[in-house]
């Protein structure tokens, strides 16, 4: 545990780049969670960050590239002095804005409930800023987390 005086120190820009494969998911998750804990996020908020991160990464892993030819997945992480954590996830796969996916019908009865569509919905619920843009043939998903998410 670092001394309290270091807790709010802005962390330098961090970057992790690996093939967009499911087997690399734990490495990406560990990378972000260790930073989040250093940066004064509660255990509850860190779990929410994990969830959002998994949904975002799995989205790229499953849809951005052809299964037999996984490309790169690039994760930028930056802690801001105001306590917010900024994440950027980039890939060079097909152009796809996940935020345009229709929200699932949360009121549907069990047998009518579609399988899937919940990941992006959960991302929206647990983030404090979520945007997508296409730049230099890359999908860029930007995510902002505040230390305590307003319910």
């Amino acid at each position: 545990m670092p001394p309290p005086s270091n807790k709010r120190k802005p962390i330098a820009l961090n970057l992790l780049e690996m093939p967009a494969k499911l087997e690399n998911l734990p490495r990406f998750m560990t990378f972000v969670c260790e930073q989040a804990r250093q940066f004064d996020f509660t255990d509850k908020r860190t779990l929410e960050i994990e969830l959002v991160l998994e949904e975002a990464l799995v989205n790229v892993i499953e849809y951005a590239y052809p299964a037999e030819l996984p490309g790169r997945l690039i994760l930028h992480l930056e802690g801001k002095a105001d306590g917010k954590l900024h994440l950027e996830i980039r890939d060079r796969g097909i152009a796809f804005n996940p935020l345009e996916r229709a929200a699932p019908d949360l009121e549907a009865e069990l047998m009518e409930r579609p399988i899937g569509g919940l990941g992006i919905f959960l991302m929206k619920e647990f983030t404090d800023g979520l945007s997508w843009h296409r730049e230099n043939d890359e999908n860029c998903l930007s995510i902002i987390f505040e230390p305590r998410h307003a319910d």
């Binding site: 499911l22 779990l47 047998m111 409930r113 399988i115 899937g116």
Partner: protein, 110 residues
Amino acid sequence: MEIKELKRTNDLLTATLSGRMDAITATEFTNQLESWITENQKSFTIDCSQLDYISSAGLRAILMVAKKVRGLDGKLQLAALQESVQTVFEISGFDKIIPIFANLDDAAAQ
């Protein structure tokens, strides 16, 4: 993630689910439940007190099994969810389609 049988009484199989149910591990749940279904088990109570984390992949696995057992006139019910897991269920509206109980005793009383 680990799923273990606790007991079978009449038609109901009770199991404990522990660890993390994510995009990598969720299929273990589906595979185990489908294996029990092939043994003619149709109703399940899952103790989730040791389940620390669930993502949409886990929800998807639970929904698939819940639909399958409903189609067989069975049921899938959950008990003792941790607060963070309960939150994910509520936000997703899963608390309205999957019976959730405070503990195994309450679930058994159904």
